[in-house]
Amino acid sequence: MTEIAIRRATAADYVAVAQIYRQPKAQSGTLQVPYSAPELWQNRLEGEGVYALVACAGDDLVGQIGLNTFLNVPRRRHVGQIGMAVRDDWQGKGVGTLLLGAVVDLADNWLNLTRLELEVFADNAGAIHLYEKFGFEKEGVLKQFAFREGQYADVWAMGRLRSIAV
């Protein structure tokens, strides 16, 4: 298996990141739309309170994860929100595990976040399995959360709590 390295994304990665989210599976599993401009990703990779990481196989960007924190919402400073995608041709090869592992380590051990949250389409079994492996639990179904391939689709809201050792 090719060695995969995780590193911080920079604004210069925006074209490759847009490419990941333009793949049919990654697009349908997230909130992206076809034909979106790659520039959309420029701000998202280097925004304030945003920790964006990418997975690299050699020179190839094969996955991306973003951890958004709430710098401007003091009462939610313990929370991080996660969005991620693995390039279609790299799914099922452990890229998601590496990306999520890196973000969970960042959140738990360095940012002192105690609640991580995300949404996942209710029929995305592979992703749900990944999140459950890291201790995310289902908190409820949000019905008709987003439009996907011609119809409204439900998502699971998932959350992961960490208790702080005092």
Binding site: L31, Q32, V33, V73, P74, R75, R76, R77, H78, V79, T114, R115, E117, E139, G140, V141, L142, K143, Q144, F145, A146, F147, R148, Y152, A157, G159, L161
Partner: protein
């Protein structure tokens, strides 16, 4: 029940907004902080983000509550959705202000903006707010554990949603 007039909030209403959102009960029920600056609201009202509708309820010359309906013009796959935030001034709670505000926001969403899913978060122990939302057809979808910090401890919220009835 007194009559309230519901109007779009303008930049010059920022002090009224600030007053509503500074009451201890309102701070408890939202994610506001004590000692916020009025200036923050002036900016928000003068330059609202795309798709944000901010309304005030007036009892004669007094602004007694606010509601914000946020839509997602930059998220095409969620453009059927509106998120609601609201607050009734501490000294006007329990007098129908919330009902008047939510009625206005729901009508805007149903009759004019073509939204089909309205959503909001409410602390699980905020019984009065829960009752109000249930009166308008909101149902609990999720329990978010430790959603926000409140009065010294993490507090849970419910995610609630309401769907527009099918058109005949």
């Amino acid at each position: 029940m007194p009559e309230y007039s519901i109007r779009r909030a303008a930049a010059e209403d920022y002090e009224a907004f600030h007053r509503i959102l500074s009451g201890p009960k309102v701070i408890w029920g939202t994610i506001q902080l004590p000692y916020s600056l009025p200036e923050m609201w002036r900016k928000r009202l003068a330059e609202p983000p795309d798709g944000m509708y901010m309304l005030l309820a007036w009892a004669e010359a007094e602004a007694v509550g606010e509601i914000t309906l946020q839509t997602f013009p930059n998220r095409p796959r969620r453009k059927h959705v509106g998120t609601i935030f609201m607050a009734v001034r501490d000294d006007w709670q329990g007098r129908g202000v919330g009902t008047a505000l939510l009625k206005a926001a729901v009508e805007l969403a149903d009759q004019w903006l073509a939204l089909t899913r309205l959503e909001l978060d409410v602390y699980t122990d905020n019984a009065a707010a829960l009752r109000l939302y249930q009166n308008f057809g909101f149902e609990i979808e999720a329990t978010y554990r430790q959603f926000a910090f409140r009065a010294g401890a993490f507090a849970d919220t419910y995610g609630m949603a309401r769907f527009k009835r099918e058109m005949a």
